[in-house]
Structure formats: C-alpha cells, structure tokens
C-alpha cells in the first residue's frame, strides 16, 4: 500500500522537505510505494530575504521569483489549493477548493504572516519590507524622502531577526550616499532592553550605532501609531515623532492553524528535537510554523528540513528514527551596503559574530542566487 506524505505549505521549509525526500526516495517513488503531495497557496516561490534589497534598488524583483513547479521536483504532486481544515485525528486535510487529502505523514510548513493591523494606526502610517507591496511602497518613500526623522520600529514576534538591524545600517549608508546624512535622523526601537535578542549581536551593534549616529530606544513595545500626528507610542509610555515610519510588524502563524485548533496564534506546539507536533506521531512541523523558541528564519527552516527529510525517509524505508534537530541557526548580517558578518548558534552553542568584512557581504550576495539550490534540496 502506498504511503502518502502530505506537505501543507510551499515556502522554503516545505519545498526543501519535498525535494530532499524525492532525492532519497527514487525507487519508492518509481514503484509507487510512496507519493509526495504539496498544497501551496501560490504558483510562485518567493526568495523572501531578497525583499530587504528592494527598497534600496539593489535587487530586481524578477530575481525574487520562480515558478514553484519548476523549483519542485517533478515527482511532487503540487496543488495550488490552500488547506482550509487540518484534521489530525482523521489524518486528512480539506482544501479551499473542497478536496480532501488523506495522509500517512503530514508536514506542517504553513509559515508566518505580518499583522500590522494588530496595532492601531500601524497599517495606515507604517512602511515595511516584509512583503513585496510593502517593499515597493518603501522604495518609493525612500526615493521621495527629503529629510527628517525615520523610525525603524521592531515588534515581537517577527521572523528574520537580523533584518531590522540590517535595514537600519543600510538606510544610514543609503542616505550617506545621497549626501543627506545631516538631514536624516534614524531612531531604532526594540522590544527588550538591548538592540538585539542575541546578546553578542547587541553588544556589537551598540558601538556601531553610536559611531554612525543612529539613535535607539529599547524596551519599546508598540501600543499604537497616530497617523495624523505622525507619532508612535509604546506600552512603556514613550512617544516618538516620525516623518517616515519603517516597521517590522508583529507576526502570527497562518489562519488555517488557528481554525484547525492546532495552536494559539497559528504556532503549533512542537517537540524541539523531533519536530513532532506535540501529541502526534505522524505530524511534523517545520519552519516558522513551530512554537519552538528559536529564530524564525530561513536557515532555521533549512536545518529543520534537513533533519525532517532524514527522519521521514528513514521512517518510510526502515521504520526507524534517524536523528534529532540540534537547534542550529545561521544568519548573514548585512552591516551596510558593502560589508557583512554572520552568526550561528544551536541549543548548546551561544552565538559569536565575527568582524564585518566585504567578503561576507559578497558571499551573502552570492547566496541570494544560491538560494534556489537550497530550495531544490541541492545545497
């Protein structure tokens, strides 16, 4: 009897899992003892980290997209038909088009979404770069900006935890390049009492901010934005004026997770090592969808996906378990428009970023293209 592996979500995590399994299950796919099905929400696959470069005109939009069917191994049964209800008791998923998919193993890779509407006034007054419409709008705003106060406002929870620092350094260099440094004041706000959740990154970035004249306000959790007065107020009672508000909006998981009663806020309770959904033996969670208290980032999704591929392949072919996820995360950190560094850590090893260099920035630019090899399960 054929075993069905059903993947809900066609972002990076789901795509790596699908392609990685195809590469290891050649004979099983050929003889029909395994089939792999993916339910996605769009025909296209987006390289999300590339959005950071859009506002600065440093990447062409066409570079961000590929046809998802071309990214996926052709042996994956891919449907653009979003999941509407996930029933982990009956081992089935129903879709918006009314189909029902049964599974033997389910992979939840539904990802996260930005929710600027969850903070009063933010959607009206804020700019962001976490989706293509926002990134385009921010690009126009930056090109038209004649000077004044810019706030880079970070909210919890959010994915890609170094992106707020990166955009701040890039903004500073962008305006310096335009000869507008004396007309622009950048203030960065962060929810906890330092500039970044990673303590070594916070320690590194503070003197950099001081050196570059970037202001900051820590312990700043946004309560509301006043679009008329152009002010932003924190729960801690601080109010700041702005001419341009760039926000990293709070995130939530997907609605289908909430509607299926699989996790508060759309985050699925997940075993930190096995990546099982808590309470299930045949449901796995990968990428932003988990509630694991580590960075929501593409690299997290990638390292989790690698573990999940090995375990699913091993379960399907040998009925045995392969290995556990060690919490590994790796992030490039752009420290301007021409330099970068990187940070990695796992459940046991604390992060320790090295000095920024041009070489690492170039490697990040190279990775902007190598990403498509990651998604295909080749890198």
């Amino acid at each position: 009897m054929s075993k069905t592996i059903l993947i809900v979500g066609g972002g990076l995590a789901g795509t790596i899992v699908a392609n990685g399994m195809c590469r290891q299950l050649n004979s099983e796919l050929r003889n029909g003892s395994v089939n792999i099905t993916m339910l996605g929400t769009t025909e296209t696959h987006m390289y999300q980290p590339g959005l950071l470069y859009v506002p600065f005109g440093r990447i062409r939009e066409a570079e961000l997209y590929r046809d998802q069917r071309r990214v996926l191994d052709r042996r994956v049964n891919f449907f653009v038909d979003p999941a509407k209800h996930i029933d982990v008791e009956k081992n089935q998923v129903t879709t918006e088009k009314g189909r029902t998919f049964k599974y033997d193993y389910l992979v939840l890779a539904t990802g996260s979404r930005i929710m600027p509407q969850n903070i009063p006034g933010m959607a009206e007054a804020g700019h962001w770069f976490y989706d293509i419409e926002g990134a385009r709008k921010l690009r126009t705003a930056l090109n038209n900006f004649e000077g004044g106060k810019i706030i880079v406002n970070v909210n919890a929870p959010h994915k890609c935890p170094v992106a707020p620092l990166e955009v701040t350094f890039m903004l500073n260099e962008f305006f310096k390049g335009k000869g507008m440094s004396d007309k622009v004041e950048i203030t960065y706000t962060y929810p906890i009492g330092r500039l970044h959740a990673l303590e070594p990154v916070a320690h590194w970035s503070k003197p950099e901010f001081d050196k570059q004249g970037i202001k900051y306000e820590t312990f700043f959790n946004t309560e509301s934005v006043n679009p008329e007065k152009k002010t932003i107020r924190s729960m801690e009672g601080v109010e700041l004026p702005f001419d341009l508000l760039i926000t990293i909006p709070p995130h939530m998981g997907q609605q289908v997770i909430i509607d299926s009663d699989l996790g508060k806020g759309g985050w699925v309770p997940t075993n930190t090592k096995t990546l099982h959904r808590e309470g299930s033996t045949n449901v796995f969670v990968v990428g932003d969808t988990t509630n694991i208290p580590i960075s929501k980032a593409g690299s997290t999704a990638h390292f989790e996906a690698d573990v999940l591929i090995d375990n699913l392949v091993s379960l399907v072919t040998e009925g045995a378990w392969a290995r556990e996820y060690d919490g590994k995360v790796f992030c490039f950190v752009e420290t301007g428009l021409g330099t970068g560094t990187y940070v990695w850590f796992d459940y046991k090893t604390p992060p320790n970023p090295g000095p920024p260099s041009q070489m690492i920035h170039w490697f990040k630019l190279a990775y902007n293209r190598l990403y498509w090899l990651s998604a295909r399960g080749l890198l």
Binding site: P157, P191, I192, G193, A197, L198, N221, K264, T272, F345
Partner: protein, 75 residues
C-alpha cells in the same frame, strides 16, 4: 484562566523576554504565563519589564540552574 509555559532554557534568540512579549499578545486578561529561563539576566529583566508595562509579576523561583518566572496578564 489559562496557564502557558514558555521553556526558554537554552534559547539564545529570540530569548525568554521576547517570547514572553509575544505570548502576552495572545493571552487573555487573567491568564498566567510561566517562563523558564536559564539566563539570569532574564530573571531580572522580566519582572522589571512586567512591572513597567502594568502586568503582574506573581513570583520567581530559583529551580537550581534555571529560574521559573510567573507572570499574570493584567490588562
């Protein structure tokens, strides 16, 4: 009233306080959240922040090697 536990032990990023901030957004008034943290800084920062924004710090227990910080959403 519901109680949620955040096991932030060994979490370098986003860390216990960021996890707590996110969890409070999803909690109802009166819900309690227990944060487990192996980081002494968080054991000090969390009560300070909780008092600043008007929630309730129910208590902190030294569990030997880690701390349990209990918080109640007050508004």
């Amino acid at each position: 009233m519901a109680t949620t536990t955040i096991d932030g032990r060994g979490s370098f990023c986003p860390g216990p306080l960021m996890e707590l901030i996110a969890a409070l957004k999803l909690a109802a008034v009166g819900d309690e959240i227990e944060v487990l943290s192996s980081d002494k800084g968080s054991a000090n920062d969390i009560p300070a922040w909780i008092n600043k924004v008007g929630h309730t710090h129910v208590g902190t227990t030294d569990k030997g090697g880690y701390w349990s910080i209990l918080v109640k959403k007050a508004k």
